[in-house]
Amino acid sequence: MEKSYIVKQISIFSENRPGRLAAIAGALRDAGINIFAFSIAEADGFGVVRALVDRPDDAHRTLTDLGFRVSFTDVIGVKMRDEPGGLSDIASILGDAGINIEYAYAYSGRDGAVLILRVDQVEDAIRQILGRGGELLEASLSR
């Protein structure tokens, strides 16, 4: 049950220099893969590009074949009211349940705003959010 809400994020190691994001994005474009959401986390001289795409397995293969270091990370996507308090609702649910958010990013699409979350106890988080009336992105949206 909870498993159907675990979304596969692709995480790509990238050097921090001009043209790397263009190379990643160009490869996904050429493979006809759509990016729903993405973010870049940066450290000393390198970064990790995180993305939700419509075909994660194809994206993984395409980028790996090009020599990128790619891995999957389990995240969840929580639908969020696109108005004041939207983020607060979700963060409170997790905070009350003692679930830690490792990182998050958000996008606002056709069907409203979505908060992508990487948490330490993913199945617990899903139960808590559904139990408190929250709505989650189905993993089947991306395959």
């Binding site: 990238s14 990790v48 020599g67």
Partner: protein
């Protein structure tokens, strides 16, 4: 001789050093060099006085081509070997009958040290010719009564048949040829059960290579060190402890120096190996700069023999001086090899920022082991920096780069880019 008391050894070394200098005085080059340095053999009263003597460089041997450095007339020389001469003229090495005896004795000592003897069948799978490894090992092995097969190199399938048919127990070859033999044997479905001992030398090889050779050939692998200028192989050799090489102090006076300044380094410090041979007749040498990087190891070996040198870790020509600290690229390679998270490819950049040397090392990530988490990468970067700091005694900036993004080299790798301008 192997377990001689330190004070007796020192007496013997001094006696032989004096003899060796008198032998060197028969050579025009040394008459000139000692005169220029203002020393005569009689000024050498203790072993420490060796530091008063000038160094000898390979280019000086090359300039003496062919027989300019021989201390004995050609009629007393019974054999000649030469080095390959890949860089300029070959170096010519002459041997008197006594030299050949000394050399065989050293090889015999090494082989005895690792438990080989008359019950062993020995395949000597190296080039027999001008290369010293062939005849050198051949006569040393005969001397201790081993059954010697002078198989030389080539025709690997025949080599493997001989190992099997003759019940070969010990083999000597280069580590890369040993790997080739292992591959061919595996393809032939041969397990080479009789083989117990592998002696590998003439090119550098790593501990991971040792593990692989031992697994695939079913041998215990020993490192052998030598150079043609010092007869050939036999100068230093691993004992069964296989933690450093015993160098034969009764025949070779060993110094470790800073290759930049020429100053003698303290025991344990890594630098260039300088050897003064103590028993060589035809080609005596004084403080010969081997160009090989090692250190004298502390402590006594469990086997009871004399002080050891570390396995050769590089060439002094590659040495870098960073903020006054000597760094060898091979040390960096060594650290990275031990870390599964990164590949073996790296590039070192050296810059001078506000009058300070800064070393940046780009390291390729390995294919395996990327979790996708930034914090794991940051942790790994910190770990590499820490390991390098432990080994080099120097803070470095480590940059993780994508796999296969660094240039590959055919032949000798150029891993260091020094961007420091002249001051």
């Amino acid at each position: 001789m192997e377990t001689i008391r330190p004070d007796e050894l020192a007496d013997l070394q001094l006696k032989r050093l004096k003899w060796s200098l008198h032998q060197a005085q028969k050579v025009g080059l040394y008459q000139r060099k000692l005169k220029e340095a203002g020393v005569s053999p009689d000024d050498i009263r203790t072993l420490d006085d060796v530091e008063k003597l000038p160094f000898t460089y390979k280019k000086e041997l090359q300039a003496g081509y062919p027989f300019g450095l021989f201390a004995t007339p050609l009629k007393e020389i019974v054999r000649i070997h030469t080095t390959s001469g890949t860089t300029g003229k070959p170096t010519v090495v002459g041997y008197t009958r006594k030299d050949l005896e000394n050399w065989s004795e050293l090889i015999a000592r090494n082989m005895t040290m690792i438990g080989l003897g008359e019950d062993d069948v020995f395949q000597n799978a190296v080039n027999y010719g001008l290369f010293t490894g062939g005849l050198g090992f051949h006569y040393g092995a005969e001397r201790i009564g081993m059954t010697v097969i002078p198989s030389a190199t080539g025709n690997t399938r025949r080599q493997i048949e001989m190992i099997e048919d003759f019940g070969v127990t010990a083999i000597h070859c280069t580590p890369s040829y040993a790997l080739h033999i292992a591959e061919v044997a595996e393809s032939m479905g041969k397990t080479l059960d009789s083989l117990k001992t592998g002696i590998f030398g003439a090119e550098p090889w790593s501990e991971s290579m040792r593990t692989e050779l031992e697994r695939r050939l079913g041998v215990k692998a020993y490192d052998s060190y030598g150079l043609s200028e010092m007869y050939g192989p036999g100068v230093a050799f691993e004992c069964p402890e296989r933690d450093g090489l015993h160098i034969w102090h009764d025949c070779y006076l060993v110094e470790i120096i800073d290759p930049e300044t020429g100053e003698k380094l303290a025991p344990g410090e890594r630098g260039e190996l300088v050897i003064t041979p103590l028993v060589k007749e035809a080609l005596p040498l004084v403080r010969y700069r081997t160009g090989d990087v090692t250190r004298l190891m502390d402590g006594e070996c469990a086997c009871g023999r004399g002080p050891k040198i570390e396995r050769i870790t590089g060439r002094s020509d590659d040495m870098l001086v960073i903020r006054g600290i000597n760094v060898f690229p091979s040390q960096i390679e060594h650290v990275l090899r031990a870390l599964p998270e990164v590949g073996e490819q790296f590039i070192v950049y050296i810059d001078r920022v506000k009058h300070l040397d800064e070393m940046t090392i780009e390291v390729e990530m390995s294919r395996a082991g990327f979790s996708g988490e930034l914090q794991d990468l940051a942790r790994m970067q910190k770990k590499i920096t820490g390991e390098l700091h432990n080994t080099l005694g120097l803070r470095t900036a480590v940059k993780l780069v994508e796999p296969e993004s660094l240039p590959r080299f055919e032949g000798k790798a150029k891993r260091v880019i020094d961007r420091r301008g002249a001051i």
